[in-house]
């Protein structure tokens, strides 16, 4: 396949060692492709200079959409389409609309965020993601380098780095 990658990666068994290794790699100007960990590691986002996720903006927009849908929907139903007097209250009873507005805000925001997360992440039914090593979902931490465009000398340099920084295993795999 065209976009297959040849990946050189090292496996670590401790997140502290991993974090130190990442800082070392940055100092040596090595281009890390990705890092895989079985659980969120404190300080990893900063170490990799990852940008803040923009997913919460999606959440805000969908939440706003939900609030408007609920509020305008109820306004249309209870004022225009099918006005009924309930408990002697006016047709347009804002306090009574608030709980449902809240519910739809939460519903839209949460479902919207999940769907957008799946779409952006390229996840969907039938999608399989190749893993470098099954143990990175269990107890191993992995730093991966893309070998594409690296000369043999560079590859040796990366291998030497992985070894020096405490990687327990070094492998290559095409995914």
């Amino acid at each position: 396949m065209a976009n297959q990658k040849e990946v050189l990666f090292g496996l670590y068994s401790d997140e502290e060692v991993l974090l130190k290794a990442i800082h070392k790699a940055k100092a040596a100007h090595l281009d890390i492709m990705d890092v895989f960990t079985p659980f969120p590691v404190h300080g990893l986002d900063e170490a990799l200079d990852l940008k803040e996720s923009r997913l919460h903006i999606v959440g805000f927009i969908f939440g706003l959409l939900g609030a408007l849908t609920a509020f305008l929907g109820m306004t249309w139903i209870f004022v225009d389409d099918w006005p009924i007097i309930i408990g002697g209250k006016p047709y347009w009873s804002v306090p009574a609309f608030i709980p449902i507005t809240f519910e739809l805000t939460v519903l839209f925001a949460s479902i919207g965020m999940v769907v957008v997360f799946y779409v952006i992440g390229g996840l969907g039914p039938g999608v399989t993601n190749p893993t470098l090593d099954d143990r990175i979902t269990d107890d191993k931490f992995c730093i991966a380098f893309d070998q594409h465009g690296l000369s043999e000398k560079d590859v040796d340099k990366v291998k030497a780095f992985l070894k020096d920084s405490g990687a327990e295993e070094i492998h290559t795999k095409t995914i």
Partner: protein, 412 residues
């Protein structure tokens, strides 16, 4: 800098604030409106507000210790100092309770024997709402709070010197911290009924205690944020980092929403039920205090909600300081709105004053005037004076707290 010095300039500044407060109090008293109602209701308003901040600090300290939280430990001395304001708070509240007992003021309709005699509702409530219980209930409950506040503080300072084997000292603190939770949980409701809700003695709401305690809590967090900003600018608390600020911001955000939730729950049930003796509370406030009534929601909900919704605003000291200032003042207004309409009503009934527009009663009741603000600054000066004085009496960092290392390396 592990020890705090209460500088001369700070003493002077708080002294000036207290001077302004005292001056305003004297002017308020000398104005001699009907029954001195403006003076007494302002004193009640501020005493309750600042006492509540101290109680909530103690409560939150107890909750955090019990939950084995570690993030707040670097600045836990600030909350200990907050909680010791209760020593002054009891003087203020006993002053009010004695005034009530001896009939110097007429803030409470249930304290008027004639009114109670031909009022079946007030008669029914008189087992709880009477001058004796107001005085002794205040003393007993606040005495218990002070006992716990001092105990936790003393144990915490002893821990600096001698943590004991196997975190022995901290285990002792845990016992007291856990015990203070049900104590404050139940007794704060009783004091709020006595001090605040009973200014509208015919009206009651089972949610009221929660709602006003949430108001105290948000004010406490807001004051903590502002104070930490100031102390850091003076070079204290170098270990208080952006992550601690972020967590305080989350508490400010979450509890602003919690406050709104309770406010709305109380409002909606009363609006929906539409029972005359319940709706009167909101009707008075919506018709006669429209600016404060809706402004309350804007300042205490819409503003903190929209500003603190984003991640990065909670990590900026400037933004946090600004929002905290507004929210702190907003919850002071919230208490104004809880107390003033009821007192106004009672004063008019008892003094025979005419109408809402009458000049003598309009000032200081419809909106907080300069004298109210001045008195609030005086109480704030008093509060901060006590806090700074208590901060200077112990090391700023609890040296041997088992959670100190976790707190220093706090990362969200």
């Amino acid at each position: 800098m592990n020890t705090f010095t209460f500088e001369r300039s700070q003493r002077m500044f708080f002294g000036v604030l207290m001077g302004i407060g005292l001056l305003c109090a004297i002017i308020l008293f000398a104005q001699n409106g009907p029954l001195h109602a403006r003076f007494w209701s302002d004193v009640l308003h501020n005493s309750v507000f600042f006492t509540g901040i101290a109680v909530m600090a103690l409560f939150f300290l107890g909750a955090s210790v019990t939950a084995m939280a570690g993030w707040y430990t670097v600045f836990k001395r600030v909350w200990e100092a907050f909680s010791l304001f209760l020593l002054v708070g009891i003087i203020l509240m006993v002053f009010l309770a004695l005034g009530n007992y001896l009939g110097f003021h007429h803030l409470y309709h249930w304290n008027d024997a004639e009114s109670v005699a031909d009022d079946v509702l007030l008669k029914g409530k008189s087992h709880f709402l009477n001058r004796g219980w107001y005085l002794f209930g205040t003393i007993i409950i606040m005495g218990a709070w002070i006992y716990f506040a001092r105990k936790i503080r003393t144990l915490s300072i002893q821990e600096d010197e001698n943590p004991g084997p196997d975190f022995q000292q901290h285990r002792k603190i845990r016992v007291w911290a856990a015990a203070v939770l049900p104590l404050i949980g139940f007794s704060s409701a009783a004091t709020i009924w006595l001090w605040v809700m009973s200014v509208d003695p015919h009206w009651y709401s089972t949610l009221f205690a929660w709602y006003s305690a949430a108001s105290w809590f948000v004010a406490m967090v807001a004051l903590t944020i502002m104070l930490m900003g100031y102390l850091q600018s003076k070079g204290y608390f170098p270990d208080f980092n952006r992550d601690h600020l972020h967590d305080l911001g989350k508490f400010l955000f979450a509890f602003s929403i919690f406050w709104t939730y309770l406010w709305f729950s109380q409002f909606m049930l009363i609006w929906y039920g539409n029972v005359g003796e319940e709706t009167t509370y909101f009707l008075t406030r919506r018709e006669q205090y429209p600016v404060l009534f809706y402004g309350n929601l804007v300042v205490n909900f819409v503003l903190p909600f929209l500003v603190l919704l984003r991640n990065d605003t909670k990590r900026k000291l400037g933004t946090m300081f600004f929002v905290s200032g507004i929210v702190f003042f907003g919850h002071w207004i919230d208490y104004f709105l809880m107390i003033k309409p009821g007192v106004l009503h009672t004063t008019m009934e008892l003094s025979g004053a005419e109408g809402h527009g009458s000049h003598a009663l309009g000032a200081g009741f419809a909106l907080p005037g300069f004298l109210e603000i001045g008195l609030m600054l005086g109480f704030l000066g008093l509060f901060l004076y006590v806090v700074f004085w208590q901060l200077s009496k112990a090391s700023l960092m609890p040296k041997n707290d088992p959670y100190l290392a976790e707190s220093i390396h706090h990362h969200v």
